[in-house]
Amino acid sequence: MNMVEAIRDAMDIKLADDKNVVVFGEDVGFFGGVFRCTQGLQEKYGTSRVFDSPINESGIVGAGIGMAAYGLRPCVEIQFADYIYPAYDQIVSEAARLRYRSAGDFTAPITIRSPVGGGIFGGQTHSQSPEALFTHVSGLKTIIPSNPRDAKGLLISAIEDDDPVVFFEPKRLYNGPFDGHHERPASNWTKHPLGDVPDGHYTVPIGKASVFRPGRDLTILTYGTMVYVAEAAVNETGVDGEIIDLRTLLPLDIEAITASVQKTGRCMVLHEATLTSGFGAELCARVQETCFYHLEVPVERVTGWDTPYPHAQEWDYFPGPTRVGNALKAMMETV
């Protein structure tokens, strides 16, 4: 099962087992979404459960909050994460604050799905990774799965969660794991163990990282597409990196992180978003707080540059396996 199918399966299961679940967003109804994540769901559950929304991201989230306050569990789609900013006020000032400001009287159990990341030659408005803009907001949970199995289990957890969840889907992973070698043929999920998605209802817990690849030399903290880039770089350099797939950014699995870095003594933080004030900054800060006396070299951030996501220079922007590999080697060389 690819990631699109896994995500669709999660919504399908929740639509079937909870009549309060509704799914909407731009083009998600009759058409089934520009990435096809909701294909067939309107036909199966009707237009009251799965429907098109006007092109108004603020309204999608705002109406979702009203529905959630009523008692529904909306799972909404923002067509690209680059278009989530018009909804930013509704997410930050409303969804994230409602429980707190009403002392639990009203809540907003809404799931906001949105494709993130580049690598599809989409230019600056189809490529961004804005996760750090959400991890700074108290009251929100932020999830980024890296494979179909996690995506399904985490999306079910998100929809069942009683708080608002921002669920970012690395669009470059929809069809297959992607290691950053854009010049090579694309692989797909059918051949990958994590494309083997269990049937029916299961959950992957929010707030738990997974050790994607155990290793002894160095810890790589990463998530989403970059998990595979890290894997490629590890394989190509021979550095025995332990790759931690964070899966949830907030709440962060600091225990898993600390255990790994205290073991390896070296830590790289890897993401596609721009460097400054990216989520990698928080990871650096936490790691040096909990592992200071174990660190042999500074925590190294390998990330997108502090520029908008370019179109033609996409692969110069993208922190691919070469850049990651060079950084890995440099970190192992430093005394």
């Binding site: 309204g59 705002g62 009203f106 009683d162």
Partner: protein, 408 residues
Amino acid sequence: MSKYAPLEFTVPEPASRPGDDADFSDIDIPLAGTVRRPPIDVSPSEIKDLSSTMIRVLRRDGAAVGPWAQEGIDDLLLTGLRSMMRTRAFDERMMTLQRQGKTSFYMKCTGEEAIAVGHQLALSPGDMNFPTYRQQGLLIAQEYPLTDMICQILSNERDPLKGRQLPVLYSSKKHGFFSISGNLGTQFIHAVGWAMASAISGDTKIASGWIGDGSTAENDFHSALVNASVYKPPVVLNVVNNQWAISSFRGIAGGDEATFAERAHGYDIASLRVDGNDLMAVLAVSDWAIERARRGHGPTLIEWVTYRVAPHSTSDDPSKYRPREESDAWPLGDPVIRLKNHLVQRSLWSEERHSQAEAEFEDEIRTAAREAEEFGVMGEGSSARDLFEDVFKEMPPYLREQRQKLGV
């Protein structure tokens, strides 16, 4: 050089500023009773004229006239009068508390009481308001415990919102009163979403959204209208046009040449413009719109024309930007006095009962305030532990750690 004159930039100005005489000559007021009452299933395009006029029931002499005058609602009118009087008395008392330094902040709705009170009396249990900070009448009209309200205003030990919100930003699901946001306009689309949910669930409940004239400029006004236009959910969209938004007059929200009610036309939403200082008009039009929504005929936008007699808040001094006596010149009068006159004329009420009631409500509120003050004022008694609760349903480990760090 050019055959065109240089362009000029113009910014709308109110008819009068401090030092000028108050001037409301630009506000057209039709005689009470002269505006028709369409059936509740009328199509929006058939009643466009009703957005440019003003529905009024109470005549200057106190008589209730025209097609919107309801009969057989004497008890409701008496309840309405009492609720308006209690709301006003409450506001006055809270101002005193603020002056005494017992709360940091307060916002009055003086002169606008008929709108929230009348509308609430037309709603049914289970319906949900999405209010702004000037609809305290919604709570007071339904006997929400005044002590609880005051505890919220004092942010004390018994504050139902645990000290987390600015005074007056109430929340009570039980009373159909959605948590007020400090951010203007955001609740308007929530009302639409809630109403969509009611329809999706095959329920019979309706939502009522509230927004100020100034806040109609916010973008959420548009998202609310677009969604209401597309899905036609059971929602009433109330615009309280009290002429001012802090220091800026309605023209700065584009409400000078067109009315706010007319905004609905482009969205195929029914809309009505109403004398908001006329409790009988408020009741009748609210009934109409609520029944329309509940019968599945879709949304209605209502512009309630009124005047913000009070300063914007206790932090505001309106004499800086409008004539001091502007509120006396306001042509729609005082909603309490207008209803009183009607009831007195019909011998359902009297000047003596009015004075008695005033004293009674003052007493009631003074007692409630005294009771509330026992639990603390100005944030006293609030718990630092509460700071970390309700960020999420379950407190995640990192917040527990932060709480420990604070040592609470």
